[in-house]
Structures are given as C-alpha cells and as structure tokens.
Amino acid sequence: MEDEKKLAEFQTRLKNGESIEPKDWMPERYRKQLVRMISQHAHSEIVGMLPEGNWITRAPNLRRKMALLAKVQDEAGHGLYLYSAAETLGVDRESMINDLLSGKAKYSSIFNYPTLTWADIGVIGWLVDGAAIVNQTMLAKSSYGPYSRANLRICREENFHKKQGYEIVATLANGTDAQRKMIQESVNRWWWPSLMMFGPTDKDSPNSAELTKWKVKIHSNDDLRQRFVDLTVPQAKAVNITFPDPDLKFNEETGHWEFGEIDWNEFYRVIKGYGPMNRERMNARKKAHEDGRWVREAAEAYAKKKKVLHEN
C-alpha cells in the first residue's frame, strides 16, 4: 500500500519533469534499468578507448597525435564519471567491471569493428560520436539527475570530438587520391554500423517502452536514427563523400532522408558476441585488468599501511 502511494508520487514527479536524485525514493525497476543503462554506457566509453587508441602511436603529425590522445583520455574520463553516476544507485565499480569482463554486461556494438586506417579516426569522430551525441543529447534530459548531468558534460566534449573528426574527414576528402580513397573506403565500412548504434527498430526494442515510461528515454530509436541521418547526409555531400546505400533519397514531402533496410541479422549477431572484434576487445580488457592486478593490490596494501601508521 505504502509502495503504491510512493509509486504514484514518483510518477507525478516524473510527469512534472522533476529530476530524481540518488537519495529519493525510486521503484526497483527504475533503479535496475538505470544501472543497466548507465553501466553499459560506462563500459562503452572504456571499450571505446581501444579502437581509437589503436592509432595514437601512428597519428600522422604532432597536432593530430595530441588531439587523439586527448580524445581517448576524455573517454576514460567519461567512463569514470558514468561509473560514479551508476554508483549513486548502489552498485560499485568493481562489480560493474566484473560484469563486463564476464560478458554479463553489454557495451556499444560499434566498438566491435576494427580501425584499419587513419581515416577511421576521422570517421569515428564524425559518425560514431555524431550518433552518440544525438542519443546523449536526449539522455541529458533524462529523469535521473546524476545521469542527466553526466550526459550534459559528455555532450559538450563529444561535440568537440565530432568537430575534430569531421575536420580529419574533410582534410582527407580534399587531399591526395590515396587519401580520398582511404576516406571513402572507411565511410563505406562505418556507415551501417553507425546507424545500428541507435538500437533495434521501435517494434523490436525490448527496453524502450519501460525506459520511456520512466522518462529515461524521451525519443524512440527510430526517431533518433532519422535525426542522425538527416543531420549527416548534408555533411557528407559538403565533402563529396557518398554513403553505401542505393536507397538513400530525400523525401520532399516529409523533409527527411529515407534510407535502406538495416541488416538486422548483422546487428543481432554482433550483439550476441560474433562481430569482427568482440573477442579481441574483451581479451584486451581482460589482459589490462589481469596485468594491472598487482598494481591495484600494491596501491591498496600501501594505503592500508599508511592508514595504520597514521592511526598509531
């Protein structure tokens, strides 16, 4: 009875657009869905460091090297404050990381594709961060305060990354023949996986209804995907890059760019762990975790000794 009353109050607060804070009462399902979503987002930032990190040591000049290093560093920072946001819901970082390493928790499937050329660094900034921004701009308005604020901060930095990414794309697109070929080839590989970043189509999205009810999500996957396509197609045209979709065309009536059917078989296959890089990404994370164990143990042992010393 008590809970029903609290639930009604909670829903009124959501309806009024109030922000829910860590100490507020919240339904268990709300807490569970947020933990799943925020930790998944944090894991994506951490795993997402790998494909771009792959090019830090090969960035072609000092400016690009610093920009890429700073970008990947930002992602570590995003991971850190997303883990902190999730911790406000009563889970600790270590258990979240264990869930990632055991395969129980998911991360964005986009990072299961390889970065094969320098052009991929530009394209990830432009398309992958571009798609992430569309999604995170919505999440910055989500009902849970700490998550909403984390996304606000992330978006500010991601906008900068996207700008840098597009600048690399434009530089290559206006460069030598080899560079032009490099950038178009990269876009061909990343376009469809970028569209998949918005998740299943609305009718097949298992969590959407509940997330919308809790005002964690405000727009549907398909709406966000459409928004991304509408934003991105003109940017590609501006630098004479094409997308690998023969069905891509502008609909004068709706004012939207229509696009072809996403390969949902590929989408579900990669989510289930069978993309080109799922194993490698997880192995790299596991290796970093295992190799770092003695360091974490040393830091902990040292902190304990100092504490004892301090207390005596």
């Binding site: 560093q73 560079q179 360091v295 040393a298």
Partner: protein
C-alpha cells in the same frame, strides 16, 4: 630574436632537438598505455603526462626548426628523421615492459627534468627560457605522480616491490646520459644560454635516493658501463621500432597533408 653565429646556431639546433626528442619519445611510450592501464585513473594520468610531454616536444621542435639549415618544420623533425638523427637519451626509448618499468623510467626522468627546467628557465635566451618555464610547471606534477607510485609499488606488496626492484636494476645503467656535459654543451653554457647539466647529478641523487630508500628498494651499485650515445644518435634497438610505427603515415604518403 637573438643573433647567433653559424656555429652557435648549429649547436643550439642539436641541443634543443635533444630536449624535444627526450620529451616526444617518452610521451610516445606513455601514450602506448592509453586504454590498457591498471586503473582508469592511471589511463587518465598517463595520457595527461604524455600530452604534456608531446606538447613540450612540439614547442621545442618549433624552436629548433628556426635554427634548421634545411628549413624543416616541427612535424618534419619528428616524423622524417631516422633513428641515428634522434638525440634523445636512451632511457626515454626503453619499453614499457610493465607498470613498474614505466614508473621507474618516469621517476628517473622527472628527477632530472625538474632541476633542469628550473635552470633552463633562467637562460639568457628568452625563446629557450619560456618553454623551459612552462615545462617546469608540468614536470613538477609528473614528479609528484611518479614519486608517489615509486612509494606505493616499493612499499606495497612483495610482488610489487620485486617488480620495481627489477625495473630499477634494469634501468639504472640508462640514468647518466642526462648529465653528460659535452664540449658542444659547454660552449653554449659559456654563452649563458644553457645550464651546466653535469652539476644536476647531485640534485638528481638527492631526489632519487631517499625515495628509493623509503620505497624499500636497494640502490644498485654503479655498473662498469653506463649507457651513452643517445645525444649523438646512437640508440638501443628499441628506437627503430618505435619510429617505424610512429612515422609510418608521413613516410608512406610523402605528398599528403593530414
């Protein structure tokens, strides 16, 4: 812009390259950790230090470029020279091996660069003093970070102590190049442009030895051979591989701009 004669310009070019190469190669090594560190906080800290190092390298390359008779840019100097033209100390190119090696390499380097930049910041040549003063603020933070980790690892667990001891033992022979006071450096010193770096060895020891002792690390005996040659383009086998990776794009596409 100060007026220097041809000989001094050549000496300065090589001297400044030495600093820039030290910072770039060290920063590159640190950047290899990005995404693979023991904890996220260290991913961030090491990327931060790497960024400082590469930023410092950039500033010193730009200054070196003003003395280059071949008119090369900062990027050309970083990406189009061969290993025998690199003038960094061999310590900076040593591989990461494990976190203890990375920290020991960093600590030994920071313990030199803090007093070095302190002195360089006093150079009568303003263009050299300014990046020195800026870098000083950064390396002070680096030293705090590496010093703390030396203590944690040395006085942490048995395993961390033995790993750090191993790193210190292996890297000790690379710790003297910083203090080589060659005839060329001496000429610049006499013009009041650069510090007497041989005088910094005592300061280095004052920083390093007590911290290693506190960290329960046995100070290695001085070996019969200390590594030398980096300042003249002689390196360990590691640098060639590092450069092959770092320089691959500008070397493969010589006409391209990035």
């Amino acid at each position: 812009m100060a007026e220097f004669d041809v000989k001094t310009r050549e000496l300065l070019f090589n001297y400044i390259l030495g600093i820039a190469d030290d910072r770039l190669i060290l920063g590159h090594r640190l950047s290899e950790w990005c995404g693979h560190a023991p904890i996220i906080e260290e991913d961030i800290a090491m990327a931060n230090i790497a960024l400082d190092c590469i930023g410092e390298a950039d500033a010193f390359y730009k200054l070196a470029a003003t003395f280059d008779t071949e008119g090369r840019s900062a990027d050309d100097l970083a990406f189009l020279r061969d290993s025998t033209e690199f003038r960094n100390v061999q310590l900076s190119e040593q591989p990461n091996t494990d976190f203890a090696w990375t920290i020991a390499r960093q600590f030994f380097t920071d313990a030199f660069y803090v007093p070095f930049f302190e002195e360089l910041a006093k150079s009568s040549y303003e263009e050299l003093a300014a990046p020195g003063a800026k870098a000083l603020k950064e390396v002070k933070y680096h030293l705090r970070h590496s010093r703390e980790w030396i203590l944690r690892l040395g006085d942490g667990t048995e395993e961390s102590n033995s790993r750090l001891q191993d790193a210190v033992d292996n890297l000790w022979m690379y710790t003297r190049e910083f203090f080589e006071f060659s005839d060329s450096v001496k000429l610049l010193y006499e013009l009041d442009i650069v510090p007497d770096n041989s005088a910094l060895l005592e300061k280095w020891k004052e920083t390093v030895l007590p911290v290693l002792k506190d960290a329960l690390i046995t100070i290695p005996e001085d070996p019969p051979y200390f590594a030398t040659g980096g300042r003249n383009g002689l390196h360990t086998e590691h640098l060639g591989h590092l450069l092959a990776e770092m320089q691959v794009l500008p070397r493969t596409y010589p006409d391209a701009k990035w």
